[in-house]
C-alpha cells in the first residue's frame, strides 16, 4: 500500500458524500432519502478513519468518533423509520412530494 495515501481515501469519501447529496435531493421516497443520509454519514466515517490512520496514528480519537457516529446513525435510522411508518399509516404514502401539509 505504498502508493495508496490519504488523498485516495479522501477522494473516495468525497465522491460518496456528493452521491449521497444527489440522492437526497432527487429521491422522492422517504426510505431512499434515508439511505442517502446513511451514505453521507459513512463518507464522514471514512474521513475520520483515514485521518486517524495517516495523520495521528498515535491516537485513537478518530476511531472513537466513528464509533459514536455509527451509534448515533443507528438511533437516527430507527427514529426516522418509526416516523416514516407513522406517516405511512396516517397518509398512506411516503412520497415527499405529497407530504407537504406543513406550509404557510
Amino acid at each position: 500500500m505504498n502508493d495508496i495515501g490519504l488523498f485516495h481515501f479522501l477522494f473516495v469519501s468525497c465522491a460518496l458524500f456528493f452521491i449521497g447529496v444527489y440522492g437526497f435531493l432527487t429521491r422522492r421516497n422517504l426510505i431512499t432519502m434515508l439511505m442517502s443520509v446513511e451514505l453521507i454519514l459513512n463518507s464522514v466515517n471514512i474521513n475520520f478513519i483515514a485521518f486517524n490512520k495517516f495523520l495521528y496514528a498515535d491516537k485513537l480519537d478518530g476511531l472513537f468518533f466513528t464509533i459514536f457516529i455509527i451509534t448515533i446513525a443507528a438511533a437516527e435510522a430507527s427514529v426516522a423509520i418509526a416516523i416514516i411508518i407513522n406517516l405511512y399509516r396516517n397518509h398512506k404514502t411516503i412520497d415527499v412530494e405529497e407530504t407537504d401539509v406543513m406550509k404557510f
Binding site: 447529496v21 437526497f24 435531493l25 432527487t26 422522492r28 432519502m33 415527499v96 412530494e97 407530504t99 407537504d100 401539509v101 406543513m102 406550509k103 404557510f104
Partner: protein, 648 residues
C-alpha cells in the same frame, strides 16, 4: 403601655378576617363568616379601648402635654439616605380617638349586619369586604407617614367601591360605585401632588419630621412661603391640594356628588363608611397636618373654612327637600362634616385659639355615634318597609318602639338639644366660630336650625304622619314587629353613646397642641342656638306631625328655591355638562379620531405591508422537504465560495 405586637394586631385582625373569609371561608363555612368577623372586631375593639386607656391615662402624657408615640416603625422603601417611605404606627390623641371610633362603629356594624344581611347570597363576601375596609381605615388613622396614609387612603377608596357596588346586579349601584371611585380618585390626584410638593420642600415623608420642618421658622421655610405661583405660595398650594384630596373623601362641595349616590350600598355599610369613618378621613387628614396649616399657612385654613361652611349650608338646604331617607341622611352627613371642616378652619394652633380644633374632633366623635345610629335605625326601618321612600312610611312608632326611641335620641343629638351629645360638640364649634368670624357664625347657626328642621321632617315622616299601610301591591305583610335582636342591640348601645358622649371632657384629651384646654360652658351663649333648633323642630312638627298640605304650599311659595334644592342645585348636571359636552367633545373626540386614524392607521399600514410582502414570498415555503434541502445545499455552496474568495 401595651406591647407593640398587640397594637399591630388591631389593624391586622380585620385584615386576617378578610383574607380568611375571602380565601377559605366563602367556600367552606359561609354562614360562620359573620360571627368570625364580629369576634375579630370585638377583640380589636377591646384592644383599642385598652390602648386608649393606656394612652390617655397612663403613658401618653409627659408633663402636661400628650406626646406622639411611635411604637412601631420600619423602613419600607428607601429612596435616598434622607427620604424613605416607612410603615409605622403613630399614637397621638386624634389617632387613638379614631381607633376607638372606627373599631366601635365597625363592631356595631358587624354585629348589626348579622341580622340585616342574613340570608344574603354574598353574605361571606360582604364580611370580607367589611374586614378589608376596617383594616384600611385603621391603617389610615395610625399611619406615621404621609405616603403610608395615601396608600391606606386608596385602600379605603377601593373597599368603599366594593361595598357600594355590593348589589352589582343593580345598574344604579354599579354606576354609584364607579362615580364614588372616580370622583374621589380625581380628588386624590390633588392629594398626591400635594404630598409631592410638601415632601419636596420638607425633604421627608415622615409626619413628625414634616410637621417639625414646616412649622419651625427657618430660612428654608421663609423661602417656601415666599415662593409664589399664581399668587399663592408653594406651601399654600401644597396644603390646598392636600385638602382637595380630603375634600373629595369627605364629600365637600363641589366634590360631594358621589356621597348621595353611595347610598346604593347596604345600609350598614353606609353607616360605617359613608357616615362615621371614611368620610371623616378628610377632616382627619387636615387635623393630622393641622400645625402646618395653622402656623405656617393660615390662607389655606381659610380655604378649608369657606369650603366647609359652604358645603354645610348647601347640604342642609338640599336635605330639606329629599324624599329618600338615606339621601337625607347622606346630605346631613355632608353638612355635619362641613361643620367639622369649618371648625378646623376657624381654629388656630395652641391654647385658647385651638378651641375649633378640639371642637371639630369632638364633633367628629359624637357625630360618628349619632350618625351611625341614624343610619342603622334607617336600616331597620328599610328592613321593615322594604323601601327607601318617605311616602311608603309613616306611623311606625307603635310598630317599632325601640327603633323609634333610639332614632329620636339620635335626631335630638344631631339637632343639638341638651343634654344629648351633639349639643356639646356643636356648642364648642359655634363658640369657636363666634370667637373668630361672625359671618361664619351666622351661617353656622342658621345651618343648625335647618338641620333640626330636616332631621325632624325625617323623623315625623317615618314615625308619625299617617298610619302605616303595607304596600298597595300587598306582597309584603307586616309579618314581624321589631327588627331582630342583633339589629336592636347596636341601636341601644349607640343610643346610650349618643346620650353620654357629650360628657366626655374632650378639652382634656384632644387638643391642637396636646395641652389641657379648659372649656367653659356659657349658658347664655347656648340660648340662641338651642332656641333656633327648637324652632326648627316646631316647624317640622307643624308641617309633618300629621298629613296636611302645608309642606306643599310652602314648596309652591318658594318654588324656585325648592326646585333647585330638590335637584341638588343641578350640580350633577353641571358635572355631566362639563364631562360629556365639553371634555368629551373637545378633547375626547379629537383624541379618539387621532388614535383611530393616525396611530391605528400607521399600525395598520405596517401590518398591511408585512402581509403583502409575505403573500409575495410565501411560495418559497412550499412545504416540500427537498426544496428546503436544495435551498440549504445552495446556501452551503454559496458560503464555501465566499470563504474561498476571502481566504485565498
Amino acid at each position: 403601655m401595651l406591647s407593640t405586637s398587640l397594637i399591630i394586631l388591631i389593624p391586622l385582625l380585620p385584615l386576617l378576617t378578610f383574607v380568611l373569609i375571602a380565601l377559605v371561608g366563602r367556600k367552606y363555612f359561609p354562614s360562620l363568616c359573620g360571627a368570625l368577623g364580629t369576634i375579630a372586631l370585638l377583640t380589636a375593639f377591646i384592644l383599642s379601648i385598652t390602648v386608649a386607656y393606656d394612652y390617655f391615662f397612663v403613658a401618653g402624657k409627659v408633663g402636661d402635654v400628650y406626646q406622639q408615640i411611635i411604637p412601631f416603625k420600619m423602613t419600607w422603601l428607601q429612596f435616598s439616605p434622607n427620604v424613605s417611605i416607612d410603615m409605622g404606627i403613630i399614637l397621638d390623641p386624634i389617632s387613638v380617638m379614631m381607633l376607638v371610633v372606627v373599631t366601635l362603629i365597625s363592631l356595631m356594624v358587624h354585629f348589626y349586619s348579622l341580622g340585616y344581611m342574613k340570608g344574603e347570597e354574598r353574605y361571606a363576601t360582604y364580611y370580607s369586604f367589611l374586614g378589608l375596609f376596617t383594616f384600611s381605615m385603621l391603617g389610615l388613622v395610625m399611619s406615621s407617614n404621609i405616603f403610608q396614609i395615601y396608600i391606606f387612603w386608596e385602600l379605603v377608596g377601593v373597599s368603599s367601591y366594593l361595598l357600594i357596588g355590593y348589589y352589582f346586579d343593580k345598574p344604579s349601584a354599579v354606576a354609584a360605585s364607579k362615580k364614588a371611585f372616580i370622583v374621589t380618585r380625581f380628588a386624590d390626584l390633588g392629594f398626591l401632588i400635594g404630598i409631592l410638593i410638601l415632601s419636596f420642600y420638607a425633604g421627608t415623608l415622615d409626619f413628625q419630621t414634616l410637621i417639625l420642618r414646616l412649622t419651625t421658622q427657618t430660612d428654608q421655610l421663609h423661602t417656601i412661603v415666599a415662593a409664589s405661583f399664581l399668587g399663592c405660595s408653594a406651601l399654600t398650594w401644597g396644603l390646598v391640594l392636600v385638602f382637595i384630596g380630603g375634600a373629595g373623601k369627605s364629600a365637600m362641595f363641589p366634590l360631594h356628588i358621589w356621597l348621595p349616590d353611595a347610598m346604593e350600598g347596604p345600609t350598614p355599610v353606609s353607616a360605617l363608611i359613608h357616615a362615621a369613618t371614611m368620610v371623616v378621613a378628610g377632616v382627619f387628614l387636615v387635623a393630622r397636618l393641622f400645625p402646618i396649616y395653622a402656623i405656617s399657612c393660615p390662607p389655606a385654613l381659610d380655604v378649608v373654612m369657606w369650603v366647609g361652611i359652604t358645603s354645610s349650608f348647601i347640604a342642609a338646604v338640599i336635605a330639606c327637600t329629599q324624599t329618600d331617607i338615606k339621601r337625607v341622611l347622606a346630605y346631613s352627613t355632608m353638612s355635619q362634616i362641613g361643620y367639622m371642616m369649618f371648625s378646623l378652619g376657624v381654629s388656630r394652633y395652641g391654647g385658647e385659639n385651638g378651641l375649633g380644633y378640639m371642637a371639630s374632633m369632638f364633633h367628629l366623635f359624637t357625630h360618628a355615634m349619632f350618625k351611625a345610629l341614624l343610619f342603622l335605625g334607617a336600616g331597620a326601618v328599610i328592613h321593615y318597609v322594604h323601601s327607601n321612600e318617605m311616602k311608603d312610611m309613616g306611623g311606625l312608632r307603635k310598630l317599632m318602639p325601640i327603633t323609634h326611641i333610639t332614632f329620636l335620641v339620635a335626631c335630638l343629638a344631631i339637632a343639638g338639644i341638651p343634654p344629648f351629645a351633639g349639643f356639646f360638640s356643636k356648642e364648642e364649634i359655634l363658640q369657636a366660630a363666634f370667637n373668630s368670624n361672625k359671618v361664619i357664625f351666622g351661617i353656622a347657626i342658621l345651618t343648625a336650625a335647618i338641620t333640626a328642621f330636616y332631621m325632624f321632617r325625617l323623623y315625623f315622616n317615618i314615625f308619625w304622619s299617617k298610619d302605616y299601610h303595607a304596600h298597595s301591591d300587598g306582597h309584603h305583610e307586616p309579618h314581624h314587629g321589631e327588627a331582630p335582636g342583633t339589629m336592636l342591640i347596636p341601636l341601644l348601645i349607640l343610643g346610650v353613646m349618643s346620650v353620654c358622649a357629650g360628657f366626655i371632657p374632650f378639652g382634656k384629651l384632644v387638643t391642637s397642641d396636646g395641652k389641657f384646654l379648659p372649656t367653659e360652658f356659657h349658658p347664655t351663649f347656648s340660648i340662641a342656638p338651642v332656641l333656633l333648633a327648637t324652632l326648627g323642630i316646631l316647624i317640622a312638627w307643624s308641617f309633618y306631625k300629621t298629613e296636611n298640605s302645608k309642606p306643599q304650599k310652602m314648596a309652591n311659595g318658594l318654588s324656585g328655591l325648592y326646585q333647585g334644592a330638590y335637584h341638588k342645585f343641578y350640580i350633577d348636571e353641571i358635572y355631566l355638562f362639563i364631562t360629556k359636552k365639553v371634555i368629551f367633545n373637545l378633547i375626547g373626540r379629537p383624541a379618539a379620531w387621532f388614535d383611530r386614524n393616525i396611530v391605528d392607521g400607521f399600525m395598520n399600514l405596517l401590518a398591511t405591508i408585512t402581509g403583502k410582502i409575505s403573500f409575495i414570498i410565501k411560495g418559497l415555503q412550499s412545504g416540500k422537504l427537498q426544496n428546503y434541502a436544495a435551498y440549504f445545499f445552495a446556501g452551503v455552496i454559496g458560503f464555501v465560495l465566499i470563504f474561498i474568495y476571502m481566504w485565498t
